[in-house]
């Protein structure tokens, strides 16, 4: 089954970095890109999204606020906050939303660890 990942980041460069890491780690996954919270919410209501990777520092609604909204309709979807803002408070808030925290600059190892955990959870949920 081809999995779909939603990438939410206002920075084109950051989306390029993520997409290129995906090509190395999980080339078969389909990527959907959104540049802000509204587009992201529209994307998850319009189609099936299996995993979401969300930047924290975005104009308008920030990544954690976006995930809180996503949780209302997708309480169990594997989600990661991707941010260079490694403050303990931000990481704790991500945990409260049952989201992983992946630090920027993004490394293949960190993304691979999140994606393999996510794929495992999705397989278990499908059983």
């Amino acid at each position: 089954m081809q999995l779909k990942a939603l990438i939410v980041d206002d920075s084109k460069l950051a989306r390029m970095v993520l997409a290129s890491a995906f090509r190395r780690i999980q080339p078969e996954w389909e990527l959907i890109e959104a540049t802000n919270a509204d587009d992201a919410l529209e994307a998850i209501s319009a189609r099936t999204v299996d995993v979401a990777l969300v930047d924290f520092n975005m104009p308008g609604t920030d990544g954690l606020e976006l995930i809180a909204k996503m949780r209302k309709t997708h309480p169990k979807m594997p989600v990661a906050v991707i941010s260079a803002n490694v403050q303990e408070e931000i990481i704790a808030r991500a945990r409260e939303l049952n989201a992983a925290f992946v630090p920027k600059p993004l490394t293949d190892e960190a993304l691979a660890a999140f994606l393999s955990g996510a794929a495992l959870r999705l397989r278990k949920a499908a059983q």
């Binding site: 920075s11 803002n85 490694v86 403050q87 600059p105």
Partner: protein
């Protein structure tokens, strides 16, 4: 650069330089990961100066045309953090981050995006680490890219609100094997300095009480 005796004590100055050093080292490590080359850092300098003096310090060792990514921060203390390069080097920096496989056209296209995102990562690494070390929370704005001389970058004209004196903290860096040199500067508004002194004092006291905690 000397402090006024009433401003920061020697030990507070040392502590601030050390905290900045921890933050900037983390930022340098982020930059290192992005460019894949060692990033060499200078010893951090901390001083209380006018915005004009800060801009002169920046202009002294650099060409007049600079490009900076800036983020404002708010919390127990407020100010701005800037990642600054000579404008002529910004394309080289972008190229060192996105890799050699992109054409010059692509590099130029992506310059603004790449600078903003690089600044976002590096300044967040620095500020978030400082916040963690001080056990405080800071809010950071979105990054913006500005171009001009030192006076433009440090808002010498518009600095009237909150007075003209700032806590100026800077550190030089050079990326090995790339012709990229720049520096990270923090400008903190003076009204916040009394608060900052109290926070630094807490940090120093905590070191005294827990010699094995997060020092070094």
């Amino acid at each position: 650069m000397k402090f006024g005796a009433s401003e920061l004590s020697e030990v507070e100055q040392d502590a601030l330089a050390e905290i900045a050093n921890i933050g900037v080292s983390r930022a340098a490590n982020s930059l290192r990961q992005m460019v894949g080359e060692q990033v060499l850092l200078s010893v951090p300098a901390v001083s209380i100066v006018t915005r004009q003096a800060a801009s002169r310090l920046v202009e002294r060792d650099n060409p007049a045309k600079l490009v900076a990514v800036q983020q404002s921060f708010e919390g127990p203390f407020s100010g701005r953090a800037l990642l600054i390069f000579p404008e002529a080097q910004s394309l080289e920096l972008v190229r060192s981050i996105i890799g050699d496989e992109h054409s010059l056209e692509d590099v130029i296209d992506l310059e603004h995006e790449a600078l903003a995102e690089t600044g976002n990562i590096i300044l967040n690494a620095c500020l978030a680490t400082i916040a963690n070390v001080l056990r405080r929370t800071m809010r950071m704005s979105l990054p913006s890219v500005i171009r001009g001389d030192g006076a433009t970058l440090f808002d010498v004209q518009g600095g009237a609100n909150g007075g003209n004196l700032v806590l100026f903290l800077y550190i030089d860096f050079t990326i090995k094997h790339h012709d990229v040199h720049g520096f990270i500067a923090l400008l903190m508004d003076l009204p916040a300095i009394t608060i900052l002194k109290a926070i630094v004092r807490d940090y120093i006291d905590a070191i005294g009480q827990q010699p094995s905690s997060h020092v070094g």
